[in-house]
């Protein structure tokens, strides 16, 4: 994980969806190599813990880990072969489901993009890129402004992806958003997580863009499948925000005076008041409609709702001992 891990560890250039795909891929390989139930639990626990520690903000990752773990715990009385087979099948289903959901969501969202749109987007999101490409195929997009998205600079990868798909793309610094908002007709961003009150957790800088676009009366829509909804926050769990390293910032070592602190959180929180719509694979909702969708999609899955990621991880670790 370390080698390819640089980008994952620092949340650089992968969107949350891609990160979850990487997790499932690693998990499949890791589980396939196990030979006993105990080993299966051990591998599941350690990989889940490592990925969670690296990206605790990702609701998709948390939800995926919980689903896998809860199934694994349910399978404790089965034979090893049966359990392994079942879990590998679940992983395949999850990968499939995510891909399909992103496609459905992008189809739906691209309908919501008006003609002659000048779009502003931030950071890197598979769903945003797919949606804008589809809208572009329908001839709806005039231009896309992409922020650099420090720290990490994922905006450069977004600009590359959009440009490769034929969209007219303009790269700007994070500070220049307000300067160009005059020309923008719509702000479109992805999501790391949506909380119980409809707030958006996303790459740092999103909340500044939301404030500026609200102030200038530009609409902002968030593309977030229901798998990005953070069920835990319904029960008061707080989302921990990781920070970028000095290396990622390229911070000069000679400036590290003892009285200097460098702070670079990777995510921030956008108030629901600044969000015009959240588009899920199930349809368009307002931030206020989020709790409803959370309850709806969890009906009959009591344990997914009531168990926190911390409880799930420690149960797994107990089994592995």
């Amino acid at each position: 994980m370390k080698k390819e891990g640089v980008w994952f560890l620092t949340a650089q250039w992968t969107g949350a969806t891609e990160a979850a795909m990487v997790f499932l891929d690693y998990m499949k390989k890791s589980l396939s190599q196990t030979k006993s139930m105990k080993e299966l639990y051990a591998n599941l626990a350690s990989l889940a813990r490592r990925f969670y520690e690296e990206r605790p903000t990702s609701a998709l990752l948390v939800n995926t880990i919980k689903k896998l773990a809860i199934r694994a715990l349910e399978l404790r009385d089965r034979s090893f072969d049966e359990a392994l087979h079942d879990l590998l099948k679940l992983i395949d289903e999850e990968v499939d489901y995510s891909r399909r959901s992103v496609d459905e969501l992008a189809q739906l969202a691209s309908r919501r993009i008006p003609d002659d749109s000048v779009v502003l987007t931030h950071s890197y999101s598979t769903t945003v890129i797919k949606t804008l490409s589809l809208a572009h195929e329908k001839g709806k997009i005039k231009q896309v402004f992409v922020t650099e998205s420090r720290p990490g600079g994922e905006g450069l990868y977004t600009a590359r992806a959009l440009s490769e798909r034929g969209l007219k793309t303009t790269l700007i610094t994070d500070s220049a958003v307000n300067y160009f908002l005059d020309k923008v007709s719509l702000v479109v961003v992805g999501a790391e997580a949506i909380t119980a009150n409809g707030a958006l957790v996303n790459k740092i800088g999103t909340s500044m863009i939301a404030l500026a676009s609200y102030h200038r009366r530009k609409r902002m829509i968030v593309l977030a499948g229901t798998y990005k909804f953070s069920f835990e926050t319904v029960y008061g769990e707080l989302i921990r925000i990781p920070e970028a390293s000095l290396d990622l910032l390229g911070f000069p070592k000679d400036l590290l005076y003892p009285n200097v602190l460098v702070k670079a959180p990777l995510m921030d929180v956008t108030r629901p008041q600044y969000i015009d719509a959240i588009i899920t694979e199930k349809g368009v909702t307002s931030p206020a409609g989020v709790p409803l969708i959370i309850w709806e999609s969890l009906s009959g899955r009591e344990e997914l709702r009531t168990m926190s990621i911390h409880q799930v991880l420690s149960l797994l670790e107990e089994k592995a001992r």
Binding site: G153, S175, N178
Partner: protein, 323 residues
């Protein structure tokens, strides 16, 4: 014949060897003083001669607001004096102008530091000598002041601010530009510098300043800009537009892997890199000026007091010919 020293100063401003609004203004006034001192022709030829020198100086950096302010301060007084006194007036008003610039810096430091209370956290953006001096003044007075400052992409001028404050013992928290809204709640006051201020109270300053102002406004935190009188634009009074400089794409791309930057260029991704942005008066609590703390709507007062209303028209006419 324009003296060699004057040409050297003009070249220094043009090549940005001489930079920073105060230094540009003082150097331009100094150049006019030298030109006047070294003039050896007869009295009747002095006014055309000094006008020629003035035009030469104005052409070096037509968009720097402090430069025409310096040149016209001296030129207006010189041209309106009698033929026999013109040379004396040029020398005297150059000295006067340089004294005023120094004096105005001292006063801003004094007034600004009073806004900072004990245990205050000051948020700032980019690098401004006036802001650094205000903070250091408050710090020297024994106030336990802390600072949050931005990196200021693309050129990282925030690192200059960081060094100047940190080496003097001020505690600094350094954050990326994208984290401005996230951290504004930890601050008590925002103080930034100024590049240009228009007669209707808009602040033109390093791109990203308007984000900081908006975030401060949302959080109910006062937003100040420290601005010597030379930053106020008489030309804007006459409707003169402040032209925002767009700088090169490589400033943004250079910190990334070469292959990626090349690929973006090959794909034709446009990179737009404006150096400044506009902060509207309604987001500005006040300007800290040498005349005191004034609300942005009173910018026109500074222009009247320091330069006179007529300067605007003259500046604008000449600038339009030059640009």
């Amino acid at each position: 014949m324009i003296p060699k020293e004057v040409l050297e100063i003009a070249d220094g401003i043009k090549t940005m060897r001489i930079r920073g609004a105060s230094l540009i203004a003082k150097s331009a006034a100094q150049a006019l003083r030298i030109a006047a001192e070294k003039y050896s022709g007869d009295a009747s030829g002095f006014k055309p001669y000094i006008t020629k020198v003035a035009n030469l100086l104005l052409q070096t950096r037509p968009t720097a607001v402090s430069l025409p302010n310096a040149v016209y301060y001296v030129l207006n007084r010189t041209l309106s004096s009698s033929v026999s006194e013109a040379r004396e007036t040029a020398i005297r008003s150059s000295d006067e102008f340089i004294r005023m610039v120094d004096e105005s810096h001292r006063r801003i430091m004094e007034y600004g530091s009073k806004l900072i209370q004990d245990e205050y956290v000051v948020f700032t953006h980019c690098h401004s000598t006036a802001v650094v001096d205000i903070i250091l003044q408050a710090f020297r007075e024994g106030k336990r002041v802390e600072v949050i400052n931005t990196e200021t992409r693309p050129l990282f001028q925030g690192r200059i601010t960081l060094r100047e404050l940190a080496k003097n013992g001020v505690k600094v928290t350094h954050v990326p530009d994208s984290a401005v809204r996230h951290f504004i709640k930890n601050a008590n006051i925002v103080i930034v510098g100024a590049d240009t201020i228009t007669s209707d109270g808009y602040l033109v300053n390093k791109v990203g300043t308007s984000h900081l102002a908006l975030a401060a406004w949302e959080a109910g935190i006062p937003f100040y800009s420290a601005a010597e009188f030379i930053k106020f634009s008489p030309a804007s009074l006459e409707g003169g537009e402040v032209v925002i400089e767009f700088r090169s794409a490589s400033e943004l791309l250079d910190i990334y892997p070469e292959g990626l930057a090349d690929e973006l260029r090959r794909l034709g991704v446009e990179v737009l890199n404006p150096a400044f942005d506009f902060t509207p008066p309604e987001l500005i609590t006040a300007f800290i000026t040498n005349l005191g703390i004034i609300p942005p709507q009173l910018s026109v007062l500074i222009i009247k007091e320091m330069f006179g209303f007529s300067t605007g028209r003259i500046q604008l006419t000449v600038l339009e010919e030059l640009v």
